[in-house]
Symmetry: C2
Subunit: 467 residues, 2 copies
């Protein structure tokens, strides 16, 4: 007799933690650190606060020859979390504040929880959270009831906050291979700092040494803005839900207020095509009409493309500065492309190529690509990433007299969007959506052309000298 049962989302990710990036002691420690750093950076940037982040890694014991018991402690000045939400934010998988349509690193509502969950099942210690929120400081000790997907609050304290510190400190232990993971963690922080030169990030390693990435500018990029869904990204489920939330509205008001880039004229034209009166009350629409409306929105070609000002690209100035500082090339070219859209989601591709100077050719004949998505450095699984495909299969490098596999070249690709089409829960690589692929290809062609032009001019100048 078969045993049918339901499992909670926490149970699902506990059983399948490989899928969230917790597949071995090196990767688990790396993934835990990055999830926490991404939460801190998101918190600061959402509020326009210059990030001050400190990350402590200490070894508290040994599980076996390849697994240390590592304590991760991270502190930020990101404004904290409302106390009524703290237990769920850290103890309920599929809970968070990033389910809105805005560019942010977080998106799934499970990253920080997975990091702690892995710590709980390997070391059985609670998660300690200290939050400064407005006028108070809150301290929680939490564990996760995996079967129920619910936080277990073991301790809760509250006290005054005279210095008005608003931020979050998270501390827990997990099993990890500290020595193999550390170089990856350091690279991750270094690459994060490259595109966030306004952030102070301090890493304190297991020997107590401070590795400080100090801010080189007080200028934050324009914050991203929350947006409405673009009609080209709709499906029946989405329209049904919007209808539910707008039952009393007129159709014309519903369309102009629920969707991005739908003005009164466009809305009237669509309703006319569908034989629906603009003043029909939304709640009266039949399911059939909802389906026809969805099709019309998806297929109508008269909408303006999504508004790019809702996105927050790195920008050519910061990108150049970051690359110069970290890579010290002889020459570099960057391009921050115009906004495009895939499936109704606006996105911007930014590329850069750095050549020569302190850069050395790759040691293993593989082009070195620094991939970023919503400012997160992606360090694993590049072979399935859209950038890898463009660099290794679509670019005709001969035309630019450059071979990134053998020359002193570094390629930088950043994609920012209201929704990054990650192919995994661990956010390791980006799907090859044709619109995104095309943007990366065209961007790389432009910057390669610039570099190639510089190199050939340099060559002819050297030839001149020798005569």
């Amino acid at each position: 007799e078969e045993k049918f049962k339901e499992i909670s989302p926490a149970d699902f990710f506990y059983r399948n933690r490989d899928i969230a990036g917790f597949s071995n002691p090196v990767r688990a420690l790396y993934t835990a650190v990055r999830e926490l750093v991404e939460n801190s950076l998101d918190a600061c940037e959402t509020r326009g606060i210059l990030p001050d982040i400190i990350l402590f890694l200490t070894i508290e014991g040994q599980a076996d020859s390849e697994r240390n018991i590592v304590r991760i402690r991270i502190a930020d000045n990101g404004g904290g979390i409302p106390p009524e939400h703290i237990p769920n934010a850290f103890g309920k998988i599929l809970f968070g504040s990033k389910y809105t349509l805005i560019q942010s690193r977080g998106t799934f509502g499970l990253g920080g929880k997975m990091a702690y969950l892995y710590g709980q099942i390997t070391t059985n210690n609670p998660l300690e959270i200290t939050v400064g929120y407005r006028k108070r400081i809150y301290f929680f000790k939490i564990m996760i009831d995996i079967k129920k997907n619910a936080p277990i609050v073991l301790e809760r304290e509250e006290k005054s906050n005279p210095k008005k510190w608003n931020g979050t400190i998270v501390s827990f232990t997990l099993e990890g291979d500290y020595f193999r993971a550390f170089p990856k963690i350091l690279e991750y922080i270094k690459l994060s700092a490259l595109v966030a030169p306004y952030a102070n990030i301090t890493l304190v390693d297991a020997y107590g040494r401070l590795i400080r990435f100090s801010r080189s500018t007080g200028q934050m990029p324009n914050p991203p803005k929350e947006t409405l869904p673009h009609p080209h990204g709709v499906d029946v489920e989405m329209v049904k839900r919007l209808v539910e939330e707008n039952r009393k509205r007129s159709l014309i008001s519903f369309l102009t207020r629920s969707f991005h880039r739908v003005g009164k004229e466009t809305a009237s034209r669509i309703l006319e095509q569908l034989n629906l009166s603009p003043n029909t009350v939304v709640g009266e629409l039949g399911l059939d009409e909802i389906v026809r409306l969805t099709q019309a929105l998806k297929n109508y070609n008269g909408f303006l493309p999504p508004d790019a000002s809702i996105l927050s690209p790195i920008g050519e100035t910061l990108l150049k500065e970051g690359i110069k500082k970290e890579l010290e090339p002889e020459v570099l070219a960057v391009e921050s492309r115009k906004p495009q859209a895939y499936s109704g989601h606006p996105f911007i591709v930014e590329v850069g190529i750095a050549y020569g100077g302190k850069i050395t050719p790759p040691e293993d004949g593989n082009a070195i690509i620094y991939r970023y998505a919503n400012r997160i450095p992606l360090l694993y699984d590049e072979a399935n990433d859209v950038s890898y495909k463009v660099v290794n299969k679509l670019m005709n490098w001969k035309r630019y007299r450059m071979d990134p596999r053998t020359d002193p070249v570094r390629i930088i690709v950043h994609i920012c969007s209201t929704k990054i089409p990650y192919k995994t829960v661990g956010k390791e690589y980006v799907a090859d959506r044709p619109e995104i692929e095309r943007e990366i290809l065209n961007g790389l062609r432009n910057v390669s052309r610039e570099i190639s032009f510089y190199l050939s001019r340099k060559k002819s100048m050297e030839r001149e000298k020798r005569r």
Copy 2:
């Protein structure tokens, strides 16, 4: 003010359907078909029934130039589903009968549901299920309440089952690129049949043509058996749960009855090391003792490795037969390796190399690898798969005077286990666990040696002839 909220698992996979394999109209149709075929094969094999599966694909309309409205209908003789579980089995994400420790294709409790969910959001039609279960036939019309992650039963009927047909018929529509997906679907079915020569699988395409894969043997492989967790795969959460379910037992009885390969002697030895009496009642264990017990189980080296008879490999005979029939090579070598374990999960690697005959060299200089996991053909994302790594980065092909990138070679790799370490929810590729990697490498070396020996002997015989 931030909007904190929780979303259901259905909502999570609706928003992130790329992650489940539904990333574009070709892949979505392919993934939907494979999820259903895998459910039918699992149902038959679990009950030892020779599979008779019919899959109908019809085009009911056009959504746009690249998206057809495709109806998928699949019928099997797999024994059906108890009626009280039908709505949840097809309408509640993270619900199923495969959450036990046994080798099966299904494992997550969401594949079939995701296929239908994609159909619902693209075509808004209900899912129609007909089940013959024991003496009755049941008919359901279902949709999914995505926000609540719950089935909506629109219709339910029941009637007598005079012919005692026990099986399942699933029918729904979805948007997909039929013409691009069809070759992939055909390849998937062909490769499934290669390792399941006891199955009748009939594919009826959009033109009404029958493509029949007829069974070539009435012999089913030994069915896999459910097993207990092996001590090397435990963590604190798992031991806590087992303790909860066994509160009244004595420690010694708990250990020998809850874990695989823990006999009385071994259990006594471990308890002695931990200073715990064998007769202690499990419910009296403190959390601290549970943690120490977990460590002891993980680190104790005296356990027998997992029992291989719980697994159901394809076997060298069936593998040879299937390869001969599908590929018609001049020579082939197969090896079904001894069982091993990773993280307490038993697994068996089976490899094969087919050379010459009807086989042609790869057209694009890429080695052709037929990858299987628990008999499922994996057709996508090979670049991150452990087999790809072994074939392209670890094997020293020169030593066997063979180059799978330029010679008429096909490589077959099958991994069966109580848990396949998939890296994605879409089950596209397998993580490079060191134990699995080593087995594939050693297996390929053995079969390559056989092929190389045959080829050099053939060469010297031809040289003899010419003299």
